[in-house]
């Protein structure tokens, strides 16, 4: 059971009772500043974490109690001392000069009512407490108790570098207990198949003219051991749709392709094929590619959704009901016959949204397409008739991202109303609401076992939610800007995240720790993807580059003993340069989407911007 920080209604009202004389606030703050700067080196970094939340809360308190001139001089005196990664917040804060400005700004209200979490070692905390409880410093102590939550851990105080890696979110860091719940990060068992051998596969091998032996091969890619993986969720933890025949055929195709897959590594980098959207004056805002890389969809700012066929096979829609009654239903190629040749084209345009389309997602069986838009709806389109089937209304504000579950049927959406919603295609209302973020939910992704959902938000945190009961099981802080890219590793154990700060952070889901930091990009990262077997992580960014990182090396040698699990942080090595396998520049085309084909060819997509 995870303890969620629930704000009390009465706390909201009394959040900013007058704490002492407003004219003395500057004295209080500078007094504390002096104390911290004179403390021992080892404690200084940790205690410096107090500056920012204290500054903001004191400033907001002055504004709320309508001491405008004191607030202004307080701000001017101390805002330059804050860390550089808080500059954006401070700029917004500088425009908040009157109490009326605070109403209606949900993010600021949430900041006021939720406690900013600081993680400090016990020694540093004792030092601080002793100092503040002296009589003349009582006011600051009251403020600290009112607005901050100090999560104490036993161990060595952290260095500035360690702290800098993990702070940055609107609510401080995550409490250690928020990351203690058990997470089933293992994969679900794949059903066993008999893979029938194809004549085509054998032609190359039996050139000597020996008679081909046709033996059905058993699938031994997935289930080597019959035992249940202790980290995997039970098969029926959440209801999943059963496999249809077409799904089984698809899986067989997948396994055949997997056999031909290129093994990637530092010695064998993938080829990258870039799909550039030329003349996209409509403003390309979202891209998705099907799992078998046969179709690509683009969502545009003019509210259209365009689907292209990437293979020579054109897109066809189904015949009308009158024609369908004439075809022979028992023939083998009935799935071909139901398609109307007259409608074959490479491009299909789907009209329906009334605002820019910010997210698109193909269903795993390629029958449906989801698109979410600024108009607050998520639309389900059929890829057999190329018409809109359902409009899911729930978010009344722009929806920033949506994704189908890896098994189909469920999908998740996240938007400006700061929640993510779990839907099923046959329910017009959401099944789960994931509330907890302090700002917009900008990115939503399913875990490969479909039991968990990761959401990245503009409050600079990533939360992992349990689909079964809606609980938040992990909170990851460390990014210094809104998160725009999330990727789970194929084995389900790790999560990679990218944000506007240009860093890719790697997280161990089981332990709830940050295990890697990849520096290199200079602008927002919009695309992240692991290769099919998890050996390479590809990242695409607004700085017009695609970078490849060595994922195997990044995740090995993790010192995750009990000590680090208790304290919640490990020493991150500065090995970004070692892990970087290649940087590939595009011709002024920001990279919006990345996709590894079943054979580990990397596809990338973006719109050419002539600058």
């Amino acid at each position: 059971v995870v303890v969620e920080d629930q704000p009390d209604v009465s706390a909201v009202l009394s959040a900013y009772n007058q704490q002492g004389d407003p004219t003395l606030y500057e004295e209080y703050y500078s007094g504390l500043k002096h104390f911290i700067e004179c403390s021992l080196d080892c404690h200084r970094a940790e205690l410096s974490q107090l500056f920012y939340p204290l500054f903001v809360h004191m400033y907001l308190e002055l504004v709320y109690n309508q001491h405008e001139s004191e607030a202004k001089s307080f701000f001017e005196r101390f805002h330059g001392d804050q860390e550089c990664y808080y500059q954006d917040d401070l700029r917004v804060l500088s425009s908040l000069t009157k109490k009326e400005h605070m109403k209606g700004n949900e993010t600021m209200l949430d900041f006021r009512t939720s406690k900013f979490v600081l993680r400090i070692s016990r020694d540093s905390y004792q030092l601080l407490k002793r100092h503040l409880q002296e009589k003349q410093n009582n006011q600051i102590w009251n403020i600290v108790q009112e607005h901050l939550y100090i999560d104490i851990f036993d161990g060595m105080p952290r260095s500035k570098q360690q702290i800098d890696a993990m702070v940055g979110s609107l609510a401080g860091e995550a409490k250690r207990e928020a990351n203690k719940a058990k997470v089933f990060f293992g994969l679900l068992k794949e059903p066993e198949f008999d893979v029938p051998l194809d004549d085509e596969d054998e032609e190359g091998e039996n050139e000597e003219g020996k008679p081909k032996k046709k033996k059905p091969k058993k699938d031994n890619v997935g289930s080597k051991s019959k035992k249940q993986d202790p980290n995997a969720p039970p098969q029926n933890r959440i209801p999943l749709p059963e496999l249809k025949d077409s799904d089984k055929l698809d899986k067989v195709m997948n396994m055949k392709e997997a056999a031909r897959r290129v093994r990637l590594g530092p010695e064998c980098l993938p080829s990258i094929c870039f799909y550039t959207f030329l003349n996209a004056y409509q403003g390309l805002t979202a891209v998705d590619i099907t799992d078998d890389s046969s179709m690509i969809v683009g969502g545009f700012a003019d509210s259209t959704v365009r689907v292209w066929s990437v293979t020579p096979k054109k897109l066809r829609s189904v015949k009308t009901a009158a024609d369908l009654s004439l075809i022979d239903k028992e023939s083998d190629d009935v799935l071909e016959r139901i398609m109307d040749e007259k409608t074959a084209s490479e491009l299909k345009i789907l009209y329906g949204h009334s605002g820019p389309v910010y997210g698109t997602s193909f269903s795993p069986d390629r029958n449906y397409l989801l698109s979410c838009s600024e108009d607050g709806t998520v639309r389900l389109w059929s890829l057999q008739t190329f018409t809109c089937l359902v409009g899911y209304k729930g978010h009344n504000y722009p929806v920033w991202d949506t994704q189908f579950s890896p098994y189909g049927y469920y999908f998740v959406s996240g938007g400006h109303d700061r929640v993510a919603r779990l839907w099923a295609t046959d329910h017009y209302q959401p099944l789960r609401i994931f509330a907890g973020h302090l700002a917009d939910v900008t990115c939503t992704r399913f875990h490969p076992n479909s039991n968990y959902i990761a959401t990245g938000s503009a409050d600079r945190t990533i939360r992992l939610w349990d689909v079964l009961n809606g609980n938040c099981v992990r909170i990851f802080t460390g990014h210094k800007g809104p998160i725009h890219a999330l990727a789970f590793s194929p084995n389900g154990r790790f999560l990679a995240t990218g944000a506007t700060d240009g860093r890719v952070l790697l997280w161990d889901i089981g332990h709830g720790l940050m295990v890697g930091e990849l520096k290199g990009h200079t602008d927002t990262i919009y695309a992240l993807r692991f290769s099919r077997d998890g050996e390479i992580l590809a990242s695409g960014s607004m700085d017009n580059t695609v970078r490849l990182w060595d994922a195997v090396k990044a995740f090995e040698d993790l010192e995750t003993d009990d000590f680090t699990t208790a304290t919640g942080h490990i020493n991150l090595p500065e090995n970004s340069q070692d892990l970087l396998l290649g940087t590939y520049m595009t011709k002024s085309t920001p990279v919006v989407h990345l996709h590894f084909t079943r054979r580990n060819l990397l596809l990338a997509a973006g719109a050419y911007s002539s600058q």
Binding site: Q6, P7, V9, V12, D88, R91, V92, S94, S95, E100, G104, N105, E106, L109, D110, T113, S114, I238, P239, L240, P241, E242, V318, A321, L324, S325, K329, I338, G352, N367, L380, S382, Q384, C388, L389, V390, G391, N396, Y397, Y409, H416, D417, R418, V419, A424, T425, D426, H427, Y428, P430, L431, R432, I433, A435, G436, L438, V467, N469, G470, N471
Partner: protein, 254 residues
């Protein structure tokens, strides 16, 4: 996006310069030049609306001039109307807790495309073909198309694909009032419209509706099928059309 060009002081009007400075203070460095015009337009329109509203409020309060309170009231009313913000956090946490308590629904196997009930889909035709036959002028006492009202029916989503569904036709006489127990079968209900003798009216097409009745959704095992016979009168003309329209939205019409 083109980089911002600072307009030369000679050519740009003062408020454009102020707007550019505001954008710079808020940290926005790259924007198309027309953004300044759009922002100025918005600011002008907003202030005008507020002041007009304030004038109305002050004249309502019979004051001689507009004062700060009127403006404050005008701003507050406009904010609630146009600039809505997402719900507060505690409200969201509350509804989330409620929603997340219900267990995930089980998935029915083999049910074709999994879509919500037709009423919530966009698959229904948004046009209706006008009947070619002339409607005969009404006289009192003539019975026209009776409507079938059935309680608590779930409709099967219409699929635009293969084959015609084979229905077991059971004709239910129009006078049924006694409860009929159904066991989840699909019925084709044909309700012949009874014509008064002597009138050479062209027969109105009987409404055929395929209705799947799912007993699990209905607590009593029996369903009461009643048909409403409505006497045709000119006054009641709008009503039958209205009822009919509503029914067609909910159920499949094949």
């Amino acid at each position: 996006m083109e980089a911002a060009k600072m307009a030369s002081p000679k050519s740009a009007p003062k408020d454009a310069q102020v707007m550019a400075q505001i954008l710079k203070d808020m940290g926005i460095t790259e924007y198309e030049p027309r953004v300044i015009n759009q922002m100025l337009e918005f600011a002008y329109r907003y202030v005008t609306t507020i002041l007009e509203d304030a004038k109305i409020y002050s004249s309502h309060a019979k004051k001689s001039s507009v004062d700060a309170d009127d403006v404050r009231l005008a701003i507050q009313c406009r904010t609630d109307q146009s600039f809505t913000s997402p719900p507060p956090r505690d409200f969201l946490l509350d509804i989330a807790r409620q929603k997340n308590q219900t267990p995930l629904p089980l998935i029915k196997p083999y049910s074709g495309p999994r879509l919500p009930p037709d009423r919530y889909c966009l698959t229904a035709p948004n046009y209706r073909l006008k009947a070619l036959q002339k409607k005969v002028s009404s006289t009192a006492g003539r019975i026209t198309v009776p409507r079938l009202s059935v309680g608590a029916v779930s409709s099967r989503p219409s699929t635009p694909t293969l084959g015609t569904p084979s229905a077991q036709t059971v004709s239910v006489s129009a006078k049924v009032g006694a409860p009929v127990s159904l066991a989840g079968q699909r019925f084709t209900v044909q309700i012949p419209s009874s014509q008064p003798p002597g009138k050479s009216a062209t027969p109105t097409t009987p409404t055929v509706q395929n209705v799947l009745i799912n007993p699990s959704l209905i607590s009593p095992k029996n369903i009461l099928i009643t048909t409403n016979m409505v006497a045709q009168g000119t006054a009641s003309d709008p009503n039958p059309l209205k009822r009919k329209h509503e029914d067609e939205d909910d159920y499949d019409t094949l």
